[in-house]
């Protein structure tokens, strides 16, 4: 028997094998990133044909910045979606964090940025943890508790913003927070940053494939490792070229907005925790079968609470980006934010039913949503059409998720 399986492994090398592996993962419910990336490319081509401004450096940079808020909020949501939970309050919680920062930084308090920004994140982390604590201790559905949060935190937000007596908006006057979205790395630093990220990523991929090969475990053939690295390299260089083109009209404006490294840092940290640590493994396990995790000796409630904490933390970072992009915080925060965050995560491939998802899904999904909004605005489609188009994409993504989920358990 073991002989047959070994020869089977031996024949499963080459492109053919890689393709079959992809097919098998598809049937197991892991869609992979391919379908949604293809969808994104189709969208991009369509919008560029309709309006050639779409692929201009200025618009692409703008698109990435637009996507940032969806990406970060989707990352916040993914921590909980993996557990089979949801946080409906994440939009207002992040705005509340931003309000904290903006108020502390302004003329009245004059806090330095290195105190105000961490405190803002601390506030959202505390809120996330508190909601998680209530949900876990009282065994309430997260949907309801965070629905209360959705209403309650908006109230708190309005209270604090209006109390400033600045007409329902507090502008960002402090430079560091303002530059988070509106400032750029210099072209040289853009190169250095992107190349350094690529070097680390490629090193990690090559090392993993290498050590699997040297331990005698099945692994992808070497040329696939090289192809992966080459594709990453090309994507990185294209990205740098886009950011480094002068997109100013009257002055020189070039380089990568600081918001992008923030995204990348959150992506790297989140992916690391989820795939390389016990905490991440247990979050998946709890989302898949909480009872099995409990019997295996996992302190289920501790890791659930940890996920709520991570959600709060990520929401705090998202809030800072949000305030920076709008140049201030108002008492009229878009209540669709949270829905678009969940939509981004699900469009990217994270399951609503728990146990399946990755941080990179937030990036892909956020880019898809930003592309739809950005592109439709460019070709002068009405807001009505934008909503309907987003809804259709979301519906397709959820349907694929549900079908894949059914396909993943053939034995029962």
């Amino acid at each position: 028997m073991s002989d047959t399986s070994e020869t089977a492994v031996a024949t499963r090398v080459g492109v053919d094998g890689a393709l079959r592996g992809q097919l098998k993962r598809l049937r197991q419910g892991d869609k992979g990133l391919l379908p949604i990336l293809l969808g994104l490319i189709v969208l991009v081509i369509y919008f560029d044909i309709r309006n050639s401004v779409f692929l201009s450096s200025g618009n692409l940079t703008n698109l990435f910045v637009q996507a940032t808020i969806f990406i970060l909020l989707a990352m916040a949501e993914i921590w909980l979606l993996l557990l089979g939970e949801i946080d409906l309050s994440v939009g207002f919680v992040s705005a509340l964090g931003a309000t904290t920062a903006v108020i502390l930084l302004d003329n009245q308090f004059h806090w330095p940025w290195f105190a105000a920004l961490p405190l803002a994140i601390l506030v959202t982390t505390a809120i996330g943890t508190m909601q998680g604590f209530i949900i876990i201790k009282l065994r309430l559905p997260s949907f309801i508790v965070t629905l209360a949060g959705l209403l309650g935190w908006e109230g708190v937000l309005i209270f604090f913003v209006d109390r400033q007596g600045t007409g329902g908006t507090i502008p960002v006057q402090e430079k560091v927070l303002y530059n988070l979205v509106n400032g750029n790395l210099s072209p040289i630093w853009t190169w250095i940053f992107v190349l350094a990220c690529l070097a680390v990523l490629i090193y990690l991929i090559v090392r993993r494939d290498q050590s699997r090969r040297s331990s005698g475990l099945d692994s992808v053939p070497q040329f696939i490792t090289i192809a992966k690295a080459a594709m990453l390299l090309i994507a990185g260089v294209v990205l740098v070229l886009v950011f480094n083109q002068n997109r100013g009209t009257f002055t020189v404006l070039q380089g990568m907005p600081y918001a992008i490294p923030v995204d990348i840092a959150m992506l790297a940290a989140g992916s690391f925790i989820l795939t390389r640590t016990r905490a991440g493994r247990y979050i998946y396990a709890i989302g898949g079968n909480a009872e099995a995790a409990r019997r295996a000796g996992v302190n289920v409630n501790r890791y659930r609470l940890l996920a709520f904490m991570f959600t709060g933390f990520t929401a705090g970072v998202a809030g800072l980006i949000y305030a920076s992009r709008l140049g201030g915080i108002s008492d009229n925060v878009d209540s669709n934010l949270v829905l678009l965050a969940v939509a981004s995560a699900v469009i990217g491939g994270t399951s609503l039913f728990g146990g399946r998802g990755k941080m990179i899904h937030a990036v892909i999904g956020g880019l898809v949503i930003a592309t739809i909004y950005n592109g439709m605005a460019l070709i002068n489609m009405s807001a009505a059409t934008q909503y309907i188009a987003t809804a259709l994409v979301l519906l397709v993504a959820v349907a694929m998720d549900a079908v894949a989920r059914r396909g993943s358990t053939p034995s029962r």
């Binding site: 028997m1 073991s2 047959t4 399986s5 089977a8 492994v9 049937r27 197991q28 419910g29 892991d30 050590s211 699997r212 331990s215 475990l217 099945d218 390389r276 640590t277 016990r278 493994r281 998946y284 396990a285 989302g287 898949g288 079968n289 009872e291 099995a292 995790a293 019997r295 295996a296 000796g297 996992v298 146990g355 399946r356 993943s408 358990t409 053939p410 034995s411 029962r412």
Partner: protein, 278 residues
């Protein structure tokens, strides 16, 4: 491991020494239950149960629904603390307050619903709660190599890849993974609740084979089953429960299907069986 020095020859438990009576080859008693009673309010689910479980043998626990089989294994697995009675592990008296206590002694339980995570792969399930790590990160290579080793030692060869999601496995394969997980953590006693209940014919044969291999590795196996065909196929010893009492126990050779059915249904034990069992 909280107890037990490595030396063999356990202290003799209260009133029983050799368990494989006829052959005279003394296989050491791993676990002894003496006078185990468990009450839920006024209901006595277990009444003074005495049972010896020898290492390297398969003990089948049979009985009708409500006879107390599940309560008994839950007492051994540390889920229910007995109301009274003593548990001896390798001759030493132990108390099992939590499943973790039992696990630390080397008692692993494979539940009927298997307790696997469908969304994790085989390696991840095998190591769930016991992950190996290096430099603060998970050591996937080590875990994967060990998983492959354990599966091949148990001759579980039907899985294509240990990186396959458990959700994509058949019932028999899932059972095999659940058992392999129990074995991997150095368990000395593996308790299995209805291991073949949901399986087809060939998968049942695979799991029964696996149970025999466990025993041949010196592991004690306690199997609950309703299926007497399976029981006689695999068991070295049989223990029969009836209304909370352990009414009969002894080498499997002393029973046949009709005598077993009679004891299960009436609690009455035929004289020849009790004679050789005592």
């Amino acid at each position: 491991m909280t107890t037990t020095p490595e030396s063999t020859s356990p202290l003799t438990p209260p009133n029983g020494v050799s368990v494989s009576g006829d052959s005279g080859v003394a296989s050491s008693t791993l676990l002894s239950l003496r006078g185990i009673t468990k009450s839920f309010g006024a209901v006595e689910a277990l009444k003074h149960v005495d049972l010896d479980i020898p290492a390297g043998q398969v003990t089948a626990l049979i009985g009708d629904n409500g006879a107390g089989k599940s309560t008994l294994i839950k007492a051994i697995a540390g889920i229910y603390a007995p109301t009274s009675g003593d548990i001896y592990w390798e001759g030493r008296k132990v108390t099992l307050h939590t499943p973790r206590d039992a696990e630390n002694l080397g008692i692993a339980t494979v539940y009927q619903d298997l307790a696997l995570c469908d969304n994790l792969d085989i390696v991840q399930n095998m190591y769930l709660g016991h992950e190996e790590s290096r430099h603060l990160t998970l050591d996937e290579i080590k875990m994967e190599l060990n998983t492959k080793r354990v599966l091949s030692e148990l001759s579980v060869s039907t899985v294509q890849s240990v990186r396959q999601l458990v959700g994509s496995l058949s019932g028999g394969q899932r059972q095999a993974i659940a058992v392999a997980r129990a074995v991997m953590h150095e368990s000395k006693l593996v308790i299995m609740d209805e291991p073949t209940a949901a399986l087809g014919v060939s998968q049942t044969a695979q799991v029964l084979d696996l149970i025999k291999r466990l025993a041949s590795r010196g592991i004690a196996v306690l199997v609950i089953s309703h299926n007497l065909v399976d029981v006689f196929e695999v068991a070295d010893r049989i223990a029969v429960m009836y209304l909370g009492n352990l009414v009969s126990s002894g080498p499997a050779a002393n029973y046949d299907t009709s005598s077993a059915v009679e004891i299960i249904t009436t609690g009455g034990s035929r004289s020849d069986v009790t004679a050789s069992a005592k």
